[in-house]
Point group: C2
């Protein structure tokens, strides 16, 4: 079944201690869609400006990503982010943000998108997430991302959104902030009590936790020796999860666990190159091989 | 087969945001021996002062730990450590250290200890480790711990020790320091190239990596909701590893992987109480049950 993603499409300029990549393709919806496209058909809702390079549109279309929902505002400029990673590659500073066309974007779903069964709400305001949900006809599974800023400034709207989600993806710091509990296991369980059917807590290189009706599922991070650019790892992680879920009809809990594992693999590939470079070089076959190697690495 | 541990026996005073425990039983050899005693017979080499409480000796003897090698210096005072944990329970400050009797202790092994097949060298100087090794007759397996201080101040002696070890246990920060590589996967591999047959890199609550001829093995941390006192978790982790190895003759790699998993379980129990309190309340049966629950939590 197919997946709909609502999120950002961006131009990124990235600096790391080991190199830089100016004006490359970025954005949460971009990374998500590219990762999910290894598993199923993906449709994208977002906005770019007239400056958005044709080659980037071609790159997404070449993977079969449906861009009917991508609004191009000819007079506008595309969302721009510039960041610099620290020596340890786990922390980064935002050097520049230009919201441009996303500043007052209100997503309107093309009619053909309203029945898409799998919906991913990329990091955005809970109010915008609710507006997207209102345009959908009974989605089978809704997964959303959130961040510190919304937890701190829009908690009431977020608490209204959470019970409408099948799953929520957030990082360890966000889970602690949302639950107001320092212990990550208790934090994950408390976030789930706020409404989502399952909660995925990401810990970056340290892996992730899944809290669901099946209890706690743990995954260490896939061991990556060659970290080039961590940008987009979280979004491709979500894309791997959602893409796989949409492609597998078997019953839980195995399906959800495998989805999380695929998410980790997509994230691990993403960081091995700038922008989508490493993902462009991979195949579903390589992804499956890495998944099996991963499984062997955690079996005792 | 039986295990010999050479390390510290201490009196600890511990403060956490949630409570405190003054003058409790501590020390690397104590924690290690107690954990290993769930799997096999353990003999201990260390030193205490005349002030060391009889009840603590009884507590160790009750678990069958052989204390023939524990020197009691009637006129001396036992090694004392006082520390305070931060709110997140991952960091701590040392408030007071009194080396006392361990300041110039030179371990002499009782003759009956020299043929013990499994040897654990608790955190101490590489020079002392080498002196202990010289007293042993062909141990079957030697595992050692180390720390930043020795890596920074006694690197040449440490580099002489490493090729004589079957295994080395160290934390992530120490692995980076020893290998001079920020990437933990490369760091673990580089440490192994310095000599030890296998290298275990501990990441605290985030789990651990094993680097061996079998490649990389990953374990997330056992999810603990109730962290009371992290003191001794690393030593009981090593005790679980070594105790299990000494009790299982099956071929690698499964044996070493199971040993690491048992180490994680012993560490996870330890942090659920002050000092040895939680370990005193556990059984081999509970340990095995937790191991199986752990296995289910990481299977996809």
């Amino acid at each position: 079944m197919s997946v709909l993603v609502v999120g950002t499409v961006a131009i990124d300029s990235i600096e790391t201690p080991f190199g830089s990549a100016p004006n490359v393709l970025g954005g949460s919806a971009t990374y998500f869609a590219y990762a999910a496209s290894f598993f199923t058909r993906v449709s994208l809702v977002g906005v770019v400006g007239g400056d958005f390079p044709q080659q980037y549109l071609d790159l997404l279309r070449k993977r079969g990503i449906d861009l009917e929902g991508l609004v191009v505002q000819p007079g506008g400029k595309t969302f721009y982010w510039k960041g610099r990673y620290h020596e340890d590659m786990n922390n980064r500073d935002t050097l520049e943000v230009q919201l441009n066309v996303i500043a007052d974007f209100e997503p309107v779903l093309p009619p053909s998108y309203r029945q898409i069964p799998y919906l991913f709400l990329g990091n955005s305001s809970p109010a915008l997430h609710l507006k997207v949900l209102e345009q959908m006809e009974r989605p089978k599974l809704v997964l959303a991302d959130t961040m510190n800023f919304w937890i701190e400034t829009q908690r009431p709207a977020l608490l209204k959104l959470l019970p409408r989600l099948d799953g929520l993806v957030l990082n360890d710091e966000e889970a602690r902030l949302l639950s107001q509990d320092d212990n990550l296991i208790r934090a994950g369980k408390k976030v789930r009590e706020l409404g989502p059917g399952f909660v995925v807590v990401k810990k970056g290189e340290h892996g992730s936790f899944l809290f669901s009706q099946d209890g706690v599922f743990l995954l260490p991070g896939y061991p990556t020796e060659n970290v080039v650019d961590p940008t987009g790892a979280g979004d491709t992680y979500a894309g791997g999860i959602m893409g796989y879920l949409a492609s597998d009809d078997s019953p839980p809990p195995g399906r959800l666990r495998r989805a999380i594992a695929y998410g980790s693999i997509l994230g691990s590939l993403t960081v091995e190159g700038f922008s989508l470079n490493r993902l462009q070089a991979t195949t579903r076959e390589e992804i499956d091989e890495r998944l099996e190697a991963y499984r062997r690495m955690i079996t005792f």
